[in-house]
């Protein structure tokens, strides 16, 4: 089975997802990776087609179209990332597609995919006729297995551009860098009210950590953007991630790489429990005052 990987380069760097996609492609068959921006691609395992089309842009899908014509792959793999989805979604107007995939196999000439949908609450098993597009969640395959030695072919492909890259906007100087914190107390929509964030702050202070949040909390303006955990925000990597009223959607847990995850949620079936070491079924706003008092007692005692 021939697999075309859409490799991602952002600001001159091959993104980790690229290696994960190559790892997946190697399991399916013979991979070739397409890179559309300039970068050092020498450690991508296998064949690499390099087209220097400037910074990654949605119109790069037209380059992918040309490479599909040339290479005739059975599967085209994209990362479930901001840029990957831009390109995959345009191509998939006329081709079978599975998104939010975390497992891909070939079976009798067709593609079997498992996707995580409904905020992580339902697994959907799909069968796609080839050629097909699969959009793979990051973290599904081991990036190390996609690293190796590249054999690079440079290609020139002229296509029409219908958007223009202007420039990168780097994240603001952080108040605190949650990705470097050992202890992160993180609040989700389940916290209910902006006023309740104070309790989370108090708890974080008692534990010697910092407060972070899920997207809805940041979107509401209850915490600054620099405190967002997840695909669009930061990845936490410390000793403890205490998730308070967070459901554990795929886009959120992509940013949770802490050694220990503890979650508090009223819903026993919340997907966050699947990545937790301990799960507490409780109302966070009832639990926090009691917990804070008890910890204070310990500290003072």
């Amino acid at each position: 089975m021939k697999v075309l990987v859409f490799g991602e380069v952002i600001d001159g760097e091959v993104q980790n997802i690229t290696y994960e996609l190559v790892a997946c492609a190697k399991k399916l068959g013979e991979p070739v990776t397409l890179i559309t921006s300039d970068a050092d691609v020498s450690n991508i395992d296998g064949r690499v087609i390099k087209v220097n089309a400037g910074e990654i842009s949605p119109w790069h899908y037209r380059i992918v179209e040309k490479v599909i014509e040339k290479e005739k792959p059975d599967v085209i793999l994209f990362g479930n990332t901001s840029c990957g989805v831009d390109i995959a979604s345009q191509l998939s107007a006329n081709m079978p597609v599975a998104t939010s995939a975390y497992e891909v196999e070939s079976e009798d000439g067709s593609i079997k995919v498992k996707s995580l949908s409904y905020g992580g609450k339902v697994i959907v098993e799909l069968k796609l006729e080839t050629p097909a597009i699969v959009v793979l969640n990051s973290g599904s395959y081991d990036a190390e297995e996609g690293k190796g030695k590249a054999s690079v072919e440079e290609l020139e492909i002229e296509v029409e551009k219908d958007s223009e890259f202007i420039g990168y906007i780097k994240p603001a100087e952080e108040d605190v860098d949650i990705s470097k914190a050992e202890i992160v107390v993180s609040v989700g929509r389940g916290i209910g009210d902006e006023a309740n964030i104070e309790m989370a702050e108090e708890l974080a202070e008692l534990l010697g950590g910092v407060v972070a949040g899920s997207r809805p909390v940041i979107d509401q303006g209850w915490l600054p953007k620099t405190r967002q955990v997840g695909r669009s925000g930061k990845t936490v990597t410390g000793k403890l991630y205490l998730a308070l009223g967070i459901s554990g959607a795929t886009e959120h847990v992509e940013g949770v790489k802490a050694k220990n995850v503890l979650a508090v949620n009223t819903d026993k079936t919340a997907p966050i429990f699947r990545i937790s070491r301990y799960g507490v079924v409780a109302d966070v706003n009832e639990l926090l005052p009691v917990l804070i008092d008890k910890i204070k007692e310990i500290k003072e005692g």
């Binding site: 899908y61 409904y118 609450k121 796609l128 620099t226």
Partner: protein, 251 residues
């Protein structure tokens, strides 16, 4: 300047989902959160540029009645015109919808079509890019801010990890929103009721084509986590949580 925003109903995940091998049965529907942000961004553009904002609600035979509230909300916030599309079947692929929607939208002369970046129940594609491709116009997704001037759209797009990039597109274009550039406006219940009473919603019928090549083999609930959940009254639970914090030497 004319803007169309797409608003679709999805299952409310706060409620129990009934998952059967060949279907997922929601208890209740609500507007897709990313679509609410698309509608909000359209209304922000109305404030910035005086654009006319039309909202296209999408419902299927199962939740037809529920879309009116979502559209009423958009009207209460300032939308100028409301449509509702009732699909002829409850289950369809994104590509099928994209084709049918593109046909409906193609002669409406919108300068900008906004959708949510994804729906919580999407696994067979993302509508925005497919729509643009069918319409033959530029596309960009993952957007958190839109500005329009002189027939050009400049957007801020999230690239992940807090990094953004700016892109320029000519109009007409399709833009998929992750979050509007400011929090969703709160609408008091009485204002919503008033808006719903006044709202005129034009009904649109779409006929979806049928595409082959994607088959749902089965739906299933993910396996139970391998952890023991801590349950009980608050005191008890707090004590156990403290034990856990001690075990990992946070306390």
């Amino acid at each position: 300047m004319r803007i169309c925003a797409v608003l679709r109903l999805v299952p409310d995940l706060v409620e129990e989902l009934e998952v059967e091998e060949n279907e997922v049965i929601p208890f209740r529907y609500m507007p897709n959160e990313r679509d609410e942000h698309a509608v909000e961004e359209a209304l922000i553009l109305k404030e910035k540029t005086g654009a006319e904002v039309e909202v296209l609600g999408i419902a299927d035979p199962d939740n037809e009645a529920d879309i009116d509230e979502g559209l009423g909300m958009a009207a209460a916030k300032g939308a100028d015109k409301l449509y509702k599309v009732i699909l002829d079947r409850p289950s369809y692929k994104r590509a099928e919808l994209a084709k049918a929607l593109a046909e409906f939208l193609s002669d409406k002369n919108y300068d900008l079509i906004l959708t949510g970046i994804q729906a919580i129940d999407s696994f067979a594609g993302n509508l925005g890019g497919m729509l643009a491709k069918n319409l033959g116009i530029p596309y960009i997704g993952g957007v958190v801010e839109v500005n329009i001037s002189d027939g050009e759209v400049v957007v801020k797009k999230e690239l992940g990890g807090g990094l953004l990039a700016e892109y320029r597109l000519s109009t007409p274009a399709v833009v998929s929103i992750v979050s509007a550039e400011r929090p969703l406006k709160f609408v008091p219940f009485t204002k919503l009721r008033q808006a719903m009473k006044k709202a005129e919603i034009e009904e649109v019928e779409l006929e979806l084509p049928e595409f082959e090549g994607i088959e749902v083999v089965r739906y299933e609930v993910p396996p139970e986590p391998e952890i023991t959940l801590i349950e009980g009254d608050v005191e008890e639970v707090a004590d156990k949580l403290i034990e856990a914090l001690k075990e990992i030497s946070v306390l």
